[in-house]
């Protein structure tokens, strides 16, 4: 077992594509759940809309990828409005069920044969990312140092991704200390009190949903461009559950919580993955106990267990403040 390469892979995962995707998705979720207390379990749908926005516009309609970005953002706002109008007045548990159903509707539509002409059906779409990589300012070569060495394409998407993460984090920090952000946190703490102060709670919730959804859509852009492929089952409910784990790990209602959470999450998963695979390859695992296929399944079990334990023992995560969590049923 090559401990060195396993460790270096795990380190590289700290800034890797998955970390960027989940950091952005969790930053969006942080606005909705962390600050506004909205239990949105449909974040995967916003990510899917971003991914398919680019993929469908470029592959099917043959338009430049900039158009895909605009379409993705507009579609995301539209979806947030459609989702928010019936659900935002509901109690938290109803909201969770309704949003999870809506995100499955989006996925089922994307993988259906009826819409296959626009979405590629269950096989998804490929070959739409070249417009983005044509803008790559890096000449061919290897960039970086130590475990963080990548070719020019990966370096380009990493750069764009981390710039997006930084901008979103900065924007979150700025708006959450503005009067608007204070009202949002007030809604999380006591909706009726805010309503009594004459604020339109419904409108604030809707704005938070749209804003968080837009950030999720950014995550979808990085997802589709980084993988250069979209596949509908990547946007299943598991994506949303992973995002919640990331957010709760780092700490909800903290600006950098999602970013740190995503980095730790993927380092730990990469490490356990590498160690288990290494142990199987070295023959340390008895026959019939675990195969390399099953290593991928252990990952999901670990995430499920982590989500339970976090919620039971440390719901505020690493950096959070327990008093700032919207966890009491209202």
């Amino acid at each position: 077992m090559d401990i060195g390469s396993i460790l270096s892979n795990a380190l590289a995962a700290a800034i890797g594509l998955d970390t960027i995707i989940y950091a952005l998705a969790a930053l969006g979720l942080n606005i909705q759940f962390g600050y506004a207390g909205l239990l949105n379990f449909g974040q995967a749908a916003f990510v899917a809309i971003g991914s398919y926005g680019i993929a469908s516009m470029v592959t099917i309609a043959g338009l430049p990828f900039g158009v895909g970005i605009v379409v993705g953002l507009l579609a995301s706002v539209l979806f947030a409005l459609l989702l928010g109008i019936p659900t935002l007045r509901l109690r938290a548990d109803y909201l969770a069920i309704a949003t999870i159903a809506a995100s499955e509707v989006v996925r089922l539509l994307a993988r259906s044969n009826s819409l296959g002409a626009y979405t590629g059906g269950s096989n998804g779409l490929t070959g739409f990312a070249e417009g983005f990589y044509d803008l790559n300012p890096f000449p061919a070569g290897t960039y970086g140092f130590g475990p963080f060495q990548n070719n020019e394409r990966t370096t380009w998407i990493f750069l764009v991704g981390w710039v997006l993460v930084a901008l979103v984090a900065l924007a979150t920090w700025a708006i959450m200390r503005s009067p608007w952000g204070r009202v949002l946190k007030g809604i999380r703490e006591d909706e009726d009190a805010v309503r009594a102060l004459g604020k339109n709670v419904y409108a604030y919730k809707m704005q938070a949903l749209v804003l968080g959804g837009l950030v999720g859509t950014l995550s979808g852009f990085v997802f589709s461009l980084g993988r250069a492929a979209v596949q509908p089952d990547n946007y299943a409910t598991a994506f949303t559950f992973f995002t919640y784990t990331v957010l709760l790990l780092g700490g909800a209602a903290r600006v950098l919580g999602p970013v740190v959470g995503a980095a730790i999450f993927w380092v730990v998963l990469s490490l356990t993955d590498g160690l288990l695979r290494g142990a199987i390859a070295a023959g340390w695992v008895p026959d019939g106990l675990m195969t390399t296929t099953q290593v991928g399944q252990v990952r999901f079990m670990l995430v499920g267990l982590a989500l339970m334990l976090l919620m039971i023992y440390r719901p505020q995560g690493i950096f959070g403040d327990r008093r700032e969590l919207a966890l009491d049923g209202r």
Binding site: L39, N123, G127, A238, V298, A306, L307, M311
Partner: protein, 446 residues
Amino acid sequence: MRRAATALVALVLAVMAVVVGSSAATAATPAPAPSASEGTTAQAGGAAAGGLVINARVRTQEGDDVPGATVDLLQGGAEVSTAETDAQGTAQLQVPSPGDYVVRLDVDSLPAVAEGLEPREAEISTSVQEGLGRTVAFRLSEPGTDTGAAASTGDQVLQRVATGLRFGLVIALGAIGLSLIFGTTGLTNFAHSELITFGALSTYFFTAIAGLPFLLAAAFGLVASAAFGYLNDRGLWQPLRRRGTGLIAMMIVSIGLSLFLRYLFLYVFGGGVRTFPGYAGQAGVQVLPGVLLRPLDLWTMGLSAVVLVVVAFALVKTKLGKATRAVSDNPALASASGIDVDRVIRTVWIVGSALAGLSGIVLGLQQGISFQMGFQILLLVFAAVTLGGLGTAFGAVLGSIIVGLFVELSTLVIPTELQNLGALVILILILLVRPQGILGRAQRIG
């Protein structure tokens, strides 16, 4: 804190113990290839070694793989390549270049397993892009049970009503427990789907691996489900309630538990769809003019209906049933009037889990057993419970029948692949119009 931790560990160990037992036995049977919908790790058919490939999958309606069937690849009417399905019912057809193709199932080559079955369509058109494989699926069924093109609309409606009722009863069995658990404890239990799956998996373990006759195995499966539900409550939810954990926090815990159990099932059971031995490919019989159902379906529908009536009777007439409804209505008041709330909650967990297990067994008989069979119908169960009114037992049954009928009848208008979508849209719409559900009491839910 410590109590909750030991309890949690005990629960996990208990699950492991059940599961490892079957794991050893599972290793003996060849594990089927993971299904394409296996979480986020799924890849599109992919360019396998040696160029482009179309995977043709041949299965019966019950989910049995059909080996030894010949599949041809045609382009412009000329045969390009041919292949035979393997033990997993999959044939790999080599594709020379991207383009439009027709995949044809040679009906005469169907083996004895598929005796008397017909594909819904013997030819499927597909197009292959550079670098991307395709998967096409042939589904075999008894002539007439599928959306037969020849059947008249009236007959189709009747047939859909029959299968809708069949599906609705399965949902109802799962929904009662979910609704009562919500009513008595306030927990929105996303791990309820795993209780459904557990019933089918444990029965499969007792019949296919331990070799018991099916009915005995099903009885053991129900007992195992009830015990599993009890352990769930005793090991996890009761300690959490005692700590005063918030409802939202408990809901997120249940999502974690659901994810953990589902992938534990996948780890042990594998990604394939299996059937209870001896219950595949039963021929349909004419029940009413135009309505074909298997004798098996009639039995399970009758059994489900009887069980539901018994549960309803118990809720209305027995002391414990009345206590359950009282706790569901107002736990504090029930407790003050001398009802042992803990005992009621324990009973609800045990009975609710056994009913969920029964729902899983019946569902397994209808469409095969897989690690995510419960999760696949979870949102429909939620839709049914919400439609009927969260927390009410009778509402849950009513909502389930409506959802079952709606899902099946909607296929007369929309493609079958989108049938669940209609129910989910209904779920969102009902929340807009009457959020408390049909039988729910109007209260503040916003």
